[in-house]
Amino acid sequence: MPKQVKLKIDGEYVNATEGQSVLDAAKANGKFIPSLCHVQGLSGVGACRLCMVEIAGGARPLPACTTPVQEGMVINTVSERLSKYRRMIIELLLSERNHVCAVCVSNGHCELQDMATRLGVTHSSFPYRYPRLPVDASHPRFVLDHNRCILCSRCVRVCAEIEGANTWNIVSRGVNSMVAADLNEPWGDAESCTRCGKCVEACPTGALVVKGKAVEEMVKRTQTVSRLATARGGSR
């Protein structure tokens, strides 16, 4: 039986299991911390930086998804500074690629859109980059639209940790980073892909979608991914 620890989140005492992340502990106790790259059951990578929280005793905020709980921790998830950071992150994500909700199949079922609404981001104060990015429709069932990708790496992790196919990875670096299948091949030609579609279900935006779905139909089932992860003993 793993050890239980007691910590304080937003002034409330909560119980957590040793080894659990602060984000999971908060979620288990009904607390909401904004996050985009996290999926329950998959490993935490701290890619989106939305779940930054203030921990008493540390000057800098830390990502809740990769910070393990400790006995006696005092955590603050809401503050003026944190909401400013979080809004800025959403604005940067929106300006980085071509996020045009009006023509997106995930409109209305998009975690980026929901998060922007929830955090009160109505526009981006940064100039849009408008990069020229391709759309990969070579796969018989799914489409990869790089314009809507936020590089959260959920697809990479679900493919590696649950399906075990390791089809996806992030290639290149910095502003040139992209998700790519195998040796940067068209998805339809990727020999390791099992066509299971878990990456599509895990994708928070319209970057990975099912072909032939209309706007209202393209609902992602992230919970299914989490359930599968729990079923195979993922505790993270």
């Binding site: 990479v156 590696a160 196919a165 390791n166 089809t167 996806w168 990875n169 992030i170 290639v171 290149s172 670096r173 790519a180 299948a181 195998d182 040796l183 940067n184 020999e191 390791s192």
Partner: protein, 178 residues
């Protein structure tokens, strides 16, 4: 399971070499880096072809996507054949203020390399069609007092200008293939 039909388009002894290197680093964390580095160094054009990457993936049991991710993350891995000579132009801040952008454009003009499509990209590796020269950029050589700095075939030249650059390139060109 991966089905690799094609063997690497290299000499037989090169395949044996790759297998040997892989055996040497078997089970060592971070071994992929060393394997790719040594395999690239062995190649005449100093690059990693897709066939070689496939072969390494198959032999090490690493996923193709991870090999490709590693090979694209580090700028020292080349996925395209490199020229016999390398002209490396520093695009660090100090060199930039001393005119390294013009120097880069001059190098491209001297070697007859067409401007890359997105023009402003500061990180690049361009090779002449005859595979004689490759022009690369680097973030900093750590010799900012000598700005602008250019490296030609691992020799550092400080306080460069167009005339000097032309001279150095001509000299290297005369020497022919290494």
């Amino acid at each position: 399971m991966l089905d690799v039909k094609e063997r690497p388009q290299t000499e037989v002894e090169d395949q044996a070499f790759i297998d040997g290197v892989i055996a040497e680093y078997a089970g060592k964390p971070g071994g992929i880096l060393s394997i790719l580095e040594r395999v690239q160094e062995r190649n005449r054009h100093k690059y990693l072809s897709k066939e070689v990457l496939r072969w390494v993936a198959r032999k090490t049991g690493e996923p193709l996507s991870r090999i490709y991710s590693v090979a694209t993350f580090y700028s020292f891995f080349n996925l395209e054949p490199q020229g016999d000579h390398t002209v490396c132009i520093c695009r660090g801040t100090a060199c930039h203020t001393r005119g390294s952008r013009d120097l880069l454009n001059n190098a491209k003009l001297i070697l007859g390399i067409r401007q890359d499509p997105d023009g402003g990209a500061d990180k690049l590796s361009l090779t002449t069609p005859d595979k004689k020269f490759t022009v690369r950029t680097v973030a900093c050589f750590g010799q900012c007092a000598l700005a602008p700095v250019v490296e030609v075939d691992r020799e550092i030249f400080g306080r460069m200008n167009e005339r000097e650059l032309r001279k150095v390139i001509d000299r290297v060109d005369q020497k022919g293939t290494k």
